[in-house]
């Protein structure tokens, strides 16, 4: 356990739904931005290309049907057949439009990103040490470049020399500059970001065209979008339904003939289009694109739709304690004197030791001492030497007026005191153990060879996190806290935060083993990580979310990157994955349920000529056979437009057990899907009747 961790540079996002308040290129646009709509309108026509249409079997059938009714309308023109033709065409267009709108949002973001990729010059350092200017696009992997204040970093790379503050707002939207330095886990820089100060030497790690920025553009544009496993399964089901409705409709011709009616081709095609699952067929790809887009809106880049889907299936979440479950920084909460000293003495010494300590923990000690004992923070003059924290000493402190004041991990301070010939009070170990057990971190304070007492640094569990974990449990997701803390401390925090399990004294290997064990049991695992040593685990996890502040290795290994570097977002990602699946399921159910009403509209209309008694089935009391058929077709087309917002926003996920979610959605989209079309087909029929044409 280290005494004092380096300050984290990433923002501490809230755990709420709108995590990542700051937005970069992924700047949210309104659902129906005017510009996007106009472009989508244009795109709808481009998508009429049969080569594009054939990828969606359901809509392809509609297109073929439209062509047939079109030919039929030319050879036997009537208001009815032309109306059907127009509405069938609109059905195809609405589907195209839905997809184009979904894509349009991504395109707009991609354009913004592309502007960043302006072809800057790079100062390449040759093997002989001389510099030359070349185009950034000519940089190969392994080249070294120099960047100084004001330069845009030409491509992705690792800092091999120097420290610099970098403005990454172009990509993350976070305006505060971050520190990047050679060595360690913060050496990665991203092409397109800007050096604000100092000078760094960067070794390029990406081939041209394969930089993080390039990938990001492709992703938000949906250019590399492939159908996800679940989407494929659903497409198969929809295709099967489409195939079965073909004979259902085609045989009505001989059936009708047998009954003494001749059924018009236009009506049959109208029926076919109404029956096949056009609603979900039209919106399916829009739902997928929108799911990715919703992640982008939250500053998360998913490398594949498969990862988003997997997120919905996750059964085990590995969450880093720090930053996810607890606030990144521990806060001083109590002072415990050893016998012979008072609490006030501990506070005084502790404050002294922390005066020059700018870490949040250090500051919290100063503040606590002031609050408890009204000890003012004193100015540190030139005669006081600040002893900074190092990995070797694991202590920090101050040399003042001959006093050597130190605070640090119990072992280190004890050793330091003993080295000076001081003695260790018997009670110290007990105090240290008690503090640890409570889930806090004990810091021992010493003044020279004399131990004064213990500072309790408390991990502060984020507000609302417990409720969040309760939700997770209701959703059937097990949460596991990963921490470097000892088991005692970990258990106490796990208890307070309400996680299901914890992995204490976690090493990358232990983390990896845990993931494998969970997967062995058939579970899907999600985790976040940022360090290079997280990379294998990130790759192993089904959903690995790399922090943008992390190393390139981590970003390569994960299948998502969180630009805000906010580990809490994992929970949001799971929700988005679920919403994606639920939206598909809900609209499929709705689409199929709609067919019931359409049958009641069209079947009586088809055969009422030979069997007038079938008008009993016309329970909507539609005006005429023609108005009935047309009403169903119009409803079928309009419902696509009406559901675009739902497809793009997604059905809201409520963290509940599966049964209550199912009950709700079955009622809403199943039962609702049966009822709604009855109402609207009747309404459309009334309007059509009012026109007098039918």
């Amino acid at each position: 356990m280290t005494l004092s961790q380096e300050p984290r540079t990433e923002p501490q996002g809230s755990t709420g739904d709108n995590a990542g308040g700051a937005r970069g290129v992924a700047q949210g646009r309104g659902l129906f931005d005017r510009e996007i709509l106009l472009q989508a309108l244009n795109g709808s026509f481009k998508k009429l290309d049969p080569r594009i249409q054939v990828r969606n079997p359901v809509m392809f059938v509609v297109l073929i049907g439209t062509i047939i009714t079109f030919i039929e309308s030319i050879s036997h023109p009537s208001i009815f057949s032309w109306s059907v033709t127009v509405w069938l065409f609109l059905t195809v267009m609405f589907a195209n439009f839905a997809e184009a709108v979904a894509e349009g949002r991504g395109k707009a973001q991609a354009d913004a990103l592309r502007r960043l990729r302006s072809d800057t010059d790079a100062r390449i350092v040759k093997d002989d040490g001389t510099e030359a200017r070349i185009q950034a696009s000519q940089l190969r992997q392994g080249d070294c470049v120099v960047c100084e204040a004001g330069d845009v970093i030409p491509s992705d790379g690792e800092i091999i020399e120097g420290v610099a503050s970098v403005d990454e707002s172009a990509i993350t939207g976070e305006s505060a500059p971050v520190i990047r330095e050679s060595g360690g886990d913060r050496s990665a820089v991203t092409g397109g970001t800007k050096v604000l100060s100092d000078r760094i030497m960067v070794r390029i790690t990406a081939e041209p065209g394969h930089t993080f920025l390039d990938r990001m553009i492709k992703l938000v544009e949906g250019a590399s979008r492939q159908k996800t496993p679940n989407e494929i399964a659903l497409t198969i089901l929809l295709a099967a339904l489409t195939i079965v409705f073909l004979p259902v409709v085609v045989v009505l011709e001989p059936f009708g003939h047998f009954a003494g009616t001749s059924v018009s081709v236009v009506v049959l095609i109208a029926l076919l289009v109404c029956l096949i699952p056009t609603t979900i067929g039209a919106l399916l790809s829009a739902i997928g694109i929108a799911g990715m887009d919703r992640l982008v809106q939250r500053n998360v880049l998913a490398m594949s739709g498969r990862a988003v889907e997997a997120a919905g299936d996750v059964q085990t979440l590995l969450l880093d304690k720090t930053g996810t479950i607890t606030l990144g920084n521990r806060m001083a909460s109590s002072f415990y004197p050893v016998p012979g000293h008072t609490e006030a003495e501990v506070a005084d010494t502790a404050q002294l030791s922390s005066l020059a300590d700018e870490t949040p923990e250090g500051r919290s000690i100063v503040v606590l001492a002031k609050e408890r004992f009204d000890l003012r923070g004193r100015e540190v003059g030139d005669d006081h030497a600040f002893v900074p924290f190092t990995a070797q000493t694991r202590m920090s402190g101050l040399d003042i007026d001959g006093h050597r004041i130190r605070k640090g991990a119990s072992d280190s301070v004890k050793r330091w005191v003993q080295e000076q010939g001081g003695s260790i009070p018997n009670e110290l170990d007990e105090i240290v153990a008690r503090v640890s057990r409570a889930g806090s971190t004990p810091l021992v304070v010493a003044d020279g060879p004399e131990i004064i007492g213990v500072i309790e640094l408390k991990d502060v569990v984020k507000q609302g996190i417990r409720e969040r974990f309760d939700d997770m449990r209701a959703m059937g997701i097990r949460t596991v806290m990963i921490t470097g803390d000892n088991p005692l401390t970990a258990a106490a925090i796990a208890q307070e935060a309400g996680v299901d399990d914890f992995l204490a004294e976690a090493t990358p290997e232990a983390k990896m083993d845990l993931i494998k064990a969970e997967q062995q049991g058939g579970k899907l695992v999600a985790m976040t990580g940022d360090g290079t040593n997280d990379a294998p685990a990130l790759a192993q996890a089904d959903v690995g979310v790399a922090m943008n502040t992390g190393t390139n290795a981590a970003k390569e290994a994960g299948n998502m990157v969180d630009l805000d570097s906010n580990p809490t977002k994992l929970i949001d990602i799971v929700q988005i994955g679920k919403e994606l699946l639920i939206t598909r399921g809900a609209l499929t159910t709705f689409s199929i349920a709609n067919d019931v009403a359409k049958y009641f509209a069209i079947v009586p209309a088809l055969f009422v000529a030979s069997y007038p008694q079938l008008k009993v089935l016309n329970i909507m009391k539609l005006h005429s056979p023609q108005s009935a058929v047309l009403s169903a077709v119009i409803f079928n087309a309009l419902v696509i437009i009406a559901l675009i917002p739902l497809a793009l926003k997604g059905v809201k996920f409520r963290p509940q057990g599966a049964t209550s979610i199912l009950r709700r959605n079955v009622l809403l989209y199943g039962v609702g899907g049966v009822i709604v079309p009855f109402v609207f087909i009747k309404l459309i029929d009334l309007i059509l009747t009012a026109t007098g044409a039918f």
Partner: protein, 563 residues
């Protein structure tokens, strides 16, 4: 009141069968039942299989197909050669090629569609040694496939799904044969004939009336036709014939026997996958559908026959008695026929063609649901599980998880196979009906005019493709056209489902198990059962709504119109 107690007795009978026969089935197919080892072992030796060696799904499927192909060929040849074979006291000649093909396919696919009249077409040898044998083995094949699918669910990371030959043999000797041996005795005691003596000539001196009364080894065939949900009767009148089904008791037992194994298999399913609740859920879905249709059928048949009313007898206290036997009465007859159409049995104790429009609707649509409530032996369960997979897929999406059923992830492959298995039936029925009503050869056999004629054709293909075998028997089906087309429908309806089911079993067996959590869609709850019922009704409704509208629905609505 009598009918109420009949239903109560049936429920008790089936409850016992569910619990005890179901448990017995588990031990048969898990290889623990061994009391006939001395019969079993030599059979394996002769067939040339090692009972310990299991098969992949492909080998299992090849074995099913090979056995069925040989059985069809064997049956075909025996029927063609009938005239030259023994045990033919009434000297019947060879069966025609088209009819032999149709009958061979029919019995091997567990359909038992009969395009012939047994008393004047089939010799005793053909009845007992050719057709009744298939009653046993086609039933055993169906159960074997269902058990193979159950193994697919219950195993993980497995490459095999059992050994077809072992499942086939065990189903016959441990399950079907012992029950048939005992039940036949009850049927004989009640009046079913069982003799090798030929027809008797009767001259009633009281009345001067002469009759030739055909007889034969009837009881033994009657029992297995019910138990194996085959349905092929000895006589043309099937279960209405007093020699097949002489009393109220045999009528009740017939219903009990045809439901016994399909119902028990839900227990077997639950036990073998380690969750009885899952089996109960499936049973509940079957029961809801079954009793709904029994309700429609019995209420409909308790109504007056419209034509008889029109003829002057308006008040028909005993319901629609056209085509029904007095000893059974209207409701018990309807119960028999509904049970038989819902189990892919297809035996009848009354003439379905003469049912009231809604009674006919109950029989026809009962089959259109896919023979799953509870369906044929084995076939009912495996088809139901296909529906469950589709339901889980849609339902699972709605809870935001890649759907899983019984711990198995339902992905593209599973959906593809399940959809294929479910949709091949309606497509076959509709396409063949469409062809039949369009051409002369199809229309010429119709006995009734108007929408009922359409119903007869629709019923024929629905029955064939669902491997049911019952008929609106007015339709003359012993023609080349119907013999060939219904034969195709029966083959498709059997093997285009069995093969996807076995493939599904293989795919599932190879998968790992996903542990259940509270985010998993519970498939052992009323909500899921309701959803499953909904999916079954929606799939059946959406595919057959227009066709049914033109048949029974129009008939029902044709108040006062006769054709």
């Amino acid at each position: 009141m009598g009918f109420f107690w009949t239903v109560v007795a049936l429920v008790v009978f089936l409850g016992l069968s569910w619990r005890f026969l179901g448990a017995y089935l588990v031990s048969i197919y898990e290889g623990r039942t061994k009391w006939l080892g001395f019969v079993e072992r030599p059979i394996y030796k002769l067939i040339g299989v090692d009972p310990e060696v299991e098969q992949s799904w492909q080998r299992y499927a090849i074995s099913v197909v090979a056995y069925s192909a040989v059985a069809i060929l064997f049956t075909y040849l025996m029927l063609r050669l009938q005239g030259s074979l023994p045990l033919n006291p009434n000297h019947l000649g060879a069966v025609s090629p088209a009819l032999s093909w149709n009958t061979a396919v029919s019995f091997v696919t567990n359909t038992n569609w009969q395009a012939y009249a047994g008393e004047t077409t089939m010799s005793y040898l053909s009845q007992m040694a050719v057709l009744a044998v298939q009653n046993f083995t086609s039933a055993s094949v169906g159960i074997a496939v269902a058990v193979a699918l159950i193994r697919g669910f219950s195993r993980k990371n497995s490459t095999t799904i059992g050994n077809f030959w072992v499942d086939l043999v065990r189903g016959v000797i441990y399950l079907l044969l012992p029950i048939a041996l005992v039940a036949s005795v009850i049927f004989m005691a009640q009046g079913a004939v069982q003799t090798l003596g030929g027809a008797v000539h009767v001259h009633d001196v009281l009345n001067g009336f002469k009759q030739i009364i055909p007889r034969g080894p009837v009881a033994s065939q009657e029992v297995i036709k019910q138990l194996g949900t085959n349905g092929g009767g000895f006589f043309n009148a099937n279960g209405a014939s007093p020699f097949e089904n002489p009393t109220g008791l045999t009528n009740f037992l017939s219903i009990g026997l045809l439901l016994a194994i399909p119902v028990a298999l839900t227990y077997t399913f639950g036990k073998m996958i380690g969750s009885l609740r899952q089996g109960v859920t499936i049973l509940a879905v079957m029961a809801v559908l079954f009793f709904s249709w029994v309700g429609i059928g019995t209420v409909a048949e308790h109504q007056a026959n419209p034509a008889v009313a029109k003829a002057g007898l308006v008040h028909q206290a005993s319901g629609n008695m056209v085509g029904k036997e007095v000893r059974f009465g209207d409701t018990s007859s309807a119960l028999y026929n509904v049970a038989s159409t819902q189990t892919s049995t297809g035996s009848v104790d009354s003439a379905s063609d003469s049912y009231t429009p809604m009674g006919g609707f109950a029989l026809l649509t009962g089959m259109m649901l896919g023979e799953i409530s509870p369906g044929g032996v084995g076939s009912g369960l495996y088809t139901m599980l296909l529906f469950a997979i589709i339901t889980v897929f849609i339902g699972g999406l709605m809870v935001g998880r890649t759907p899983e059923y019984l711990g198995k992830k339902i992905q593209a492959k599973e959906v593809k196979l399940a959809a294929l298995g479910i949709l091949v039936m309606p497509i076959t029925v509709l396409v063949l009906t469409g062809i039949a009503v369009a051409i002369h050869a199809g229309r010429v056999g119709v006995a009734n005019g108007g929408p009922h004629g359409f119903s007869e054709i629709l019923y024929a293909f629905t029955s064939a493709a669902n491997n049911n075998g019952s008929a609106f028997a007015g339709l003359s089906v012993n023609t080349t056209f119907y013999n060939v087309t219904t034969g195709v429908a029966m083959l498709v309806g059997r093997f285009a489902i069995i093969i996807p089911v076995l493939a599904l079993s293989g795919v599932l067996a190879a998968k790992g198990l996903v542990p259940e959590s509270s985010g998993t869609l519970r498939t052992d709850k009323a909500l899921f059962a309701g959803l499953l019922v909904g999916v079954i009704l929606i799939v059946g409704g959406l595919t057959f709504f227009p066709a049914v509208s033109l048949g029974p629905v129009v008939e029902q609505l044709s108040n006062g119109r006769f054709f």
